[in-house]
Symmetry: D2
Subunit: 341 residues, 4 copies
């Protein structure tokens, strides 16, 4: 039985907490910590049978009975808590991104090198049945050699402007998942990136120094091409699609719906909108990622989404950012050399 402490019980922390309590074999939540914990959350936790509830996460790190921590706090605290948890020998599941600052990710990477800590990054889409099916088709050679990979990723609405200001920008906050999908589906690394972007949905996003719409094209090291398109606001809901096209054919995934119901009437043929957002869309994937994390601990397996999977999308994101601001293609190697990688 893996005893887990959850650091940060906002939206995603709660999701993981419920997943473990309900579904994940061989694991239980022993404690939770959140500096902003309120009465509702306390009651919610107690209903789940969790009674060690702290504001200070050190209570969790100091508890020698706890085997693993889930770091679900705000992004700017991730790398610091990671380093402390590594010191305490806790296995770590860290929400993405590890940090916006590559140097700090490298610090975590370095600290991990000398430890026995299992470290997994929260790239949930890798555990979604649609994206897994694309990866599997590519891996099994069903589409032959990959030629073109396309990812469409649009949110139903932008986060608050205050969040956008500290988010690191769309490429590190939102596209980072898509960069991870490029790596996951292709099984390849990005060589170079070129980004076009614009402020097309909300001027305030532009005033906050960010963009809300982007097309990012990429060359992969193996020669394949890839392209991502992003928007912060799709009126019809969360749009999460992918297509991998290769020498033998194509695999494509479309959005998940609430039901399969189709209504035909005098106005046309109608369906509901896709599932609203990530909590609805990826609920099952959140369970699967924690299940794998616990399985890696219990059976001493290698984590499939480790620290390098956390690092690479940040590098690509920074390359995209630079590409956008300088209006030129940028190699990932250029970003790496900036950080002495």
């Amino acid at each position: 039985m893996v005893k887990v402490g959850i650091i940060g019980v906002g939206r995603i922390g709660k999701v993981h907490c419920q997943s473990i309590t309900r579904y994940v074999k061989n694991a239980k939540v022993k404690a939770i910590a959140d500096p902003y914990i309120n009465d509702d959350t306390i009651k919610w936790a107690q209903d789940l049978g969790i009674f060690e509830i702290y504001t200070d996460y050190n209570k969790i790190l100091d508890d020698s009975d706890i085997d693993a921590v889930l770091i679900c706090s705000s992004t700017d605290t991730h790398s610091q808590i990671c380093l402390e948890a590594i010191k305490k020998g806790k296995h770590i599941f860290c929400e993405k991104p590890i940090d916006h600052d590559v140097a700090k990710i490298l610090e975590v990477k370095s600290a991990l090198r000398n430890s026995n800590v299992k470290f997994q990054v929260g790239f949930n889409r890798r555990f979604d049945s649609n994206f897994k099916a694309v990866r599997q088709a590519v891996k099994e050679g069903k589409i032959g050699q990959l030629n073109i990979l396309k990812i469409c990723s649009r949110d139903p609405g932008a986060p608050p402007i205050d969040y956008i200001k500290v988010s690191g920008g769309i490429f590190l906050d939102m596209t980072i998942h898509d960069f991870d999908m490029v790596r996951f589906i292709s099984g390849d690394e990005v060589d170079e990136v070129f980004a076009y972007g614009g402020v097309l949905t909300d001027k305030k996003i532009g005033e906050a120094g960010d963009i809300d719409t982007a097309i990012i094209s990429m060359k992969l090291k193996g020669g394949s091409l890839a392209v991502i398109d992003n928007s912060r606001r799709a009126t019809y809901g969360y749009d999460q699609r992918a297509e991998a096209f290769g020498s033998l054919g194509q695999v494509a995934i479309s959005n998940n719906m609430q039901s399969t119901a189709i209504i035909s009437d005098a106005d046309g043929v109608h369906q509901e909108k896709p599932l609203l957002f990530f909590l609805e869309r990826y609920m099952q994937a959140y369970v699967e990622e924690i299940t794998e994390f616990v399985d890696c601990i219990v059976n001493d397996k290698e984590v499939s989404v480790g620290v390098d999977c956390g690092l690479q999308p940040v590098l690509i994101g920074l390359a995209a950012k630079k590409s956008l601001s300088q209006n030129r293609p940028v190699k990932i190697a250029e970003i790496e050399s900036e950080f002495g990688i």
Copy 2:
């Protein structure tokens, strides 16, 4: 070059006239005849290069230069003109049904037996790419042994009440196409039929002695089961679907659309309605059926949709009518014995 005379140039006569002029190799329309011909139709014909335009169809039958006639006049004249055309040795393409009166169809059948006349009935759906694909899958064994055949056939709106009164009833007027599809797709004959019906869209249809909604279930001689559902009014347009389910799988066809465009917005996901009605839906099938007819004449081939294909659906329709009125299953053999078949 097959020289054709068209008897009756209403809606469907015009369709065939254009098909021949534009698409059908080795055929040309030499003359048309219609007792109700008007100036618009005369101009329309002349634009197509047809200048022999009559009110009396005997002018066509008496023209020894004409090889074949298309009988597109009102149903009550079909069998009589067929008999006259057979006497004159003209090949015949006759719109469905040959007659509502089985005795008269048998007369035509008998007259054909002693002639060299090619005789084809206008069951256009057999030439539609969707229905052909279902037939082909069944014939090629892709679904194995047929277990259940389902046909959904709904019109966008009912014909005028005056037409309904002389139509022979829904089973002979509308379902007759679906009975033909049961025979075509299954390659089998109907053994027994049971019909439920109701007047659910328009009371006037009931007052005219007909129904507008029906579910007709059938046992085929080979043991398979079949079911047709009909409505005279589908708000979303012409609904023409079929499913054949067998020991190895299922083949299903859906409706054809004007375009593949799908609009996703804040209200949901929307598509246009299916193609409105038979002229839009089966335009290509109308060309194909005449092409086959001409090909049978030119190359002396056997017609695939002959007089028996015209007879059987009428027998099934009469069985359905009897089933509905007596609320019991009726064997086709029972109808046949009424007519000494």
Copy 3:
């Protein structure tokens, strides 16, 4: 907190047990009982935190601390246990059918009349998001007045012949769910039924006195028509579709898939098969039905799927059985009068 005892922990009993443990608020499983319980099941129960494990279900009925029972034992024991549980004042969730014998269902109904026991029948499909969407569209008037209701229900494979022999026949064992869907979606009652059936997938099913393929047409009391088609063996998996067609349009549902992945290659365009069978397809519906049951107990609400919902489909099933054997339409009233209803 509703304390639940589960009587019968075969496949479906286990499903409910997990649902309650994981998802259902205000409920916990206090005890389970099964005469055939084995070590695996005992270990499985203990892992879920259930330690009162019996072979004799009376242990559960006699436990005054238990508020409600789930009857998931073999069908022939349902009505007897129901009667005993009513006597003990336990709320009851009973798997379908309550009994094959109408007299025994009436006994349960009668016993319930003089009790305060909440009684729910396990018609899970009423809680499925697809079927709920159809019901909702009908209820909200989106398709206008119901004209035609079609249900396609096919299993991926037949149960063992030994089970078929005691199953009460396909209409009481399998179609019973579809009869319930006709009532649920239409909000109407069946007036008359006509059934065609055949043994088309496995001769042994015929030797066991049953059929494996059926088309059942129905007239509803409000005048609408309905039709169900059944097969015991669809090679492509569990086929669970419905279409409700009315004066304003149609609502249709199709099967659920494992993923949305579509592969296009030189051979064509391919998708996975639908979800295999009821455990995969209706997992969420099983949770929802127990959630409603518990909610009715906690908040003293009326159960939406009560004893009459258990009775009616059995009456329709018996009418279908009689229709098949006598090859004539049978009114539900005829069956009712046999049982003095």
Copy 4:
């Protein structure tokens, strides 16, 4: 009646010839000319009722009875014949591209300025029901302000290497249609383009100095973003899709199929491949474009796809070519200034 001469009766010249003969009101083909004409083509023309058949196209230009010419000869002859035809006062339908050399297109444009000649470029996709539906949705504001436009355009196979060598490269030969679609759907002009390309399907294409796979991203003058992905070889056939995403929603089109048939079996759910290539896919669009051309002549209307529609995609194609070779974004203005536009 518009009398037409067709210059070049290869594949596409034949298509137009048949379209006019069969469908286009108020037009007839008076003569055809082709230096490589053979006996088969002569017979084919005579069957269509065309008896003026030349090897020298001047016979057509010199015939004062001919009102309009269709220029369907090899690309390198287009602009020269255009200039001669303008001098003779013939209306012109010219296949795309007018020329690979911008200077020559400008010459044609200049010659047209001082003439009364109607001039249309053969961008057939503008007349396809799918692409028209996308344009219409955008134009009618159904998706609001355009944010992202995506075009997927893949051929089932590459043309012969000898053709590729003189084709002007993929951007001028194949993507030119997609650049036209960007302009048509958006109603906007391209400002800047960035292209990634590779040789991923056939090394010989690379040896011929071309690429076979590309992702081209664009900024439009109005601020929208666009992206095209191309491949010379899609195993599953001609892939012609588009998506326009805007502030109110999205409109998307998918490929057209031979039939709607779907086969479900033990291996999965299967459909045929999309229509093979442009002749099958755009047959109706070819009719529509000539119909509009003739209508513009007869009713003295302005052509909707004029010389500028022929020029712009060439400029974008040259920008894409430069972008690929110099690995940097290139403004259309940069290309224009090279040609003094």
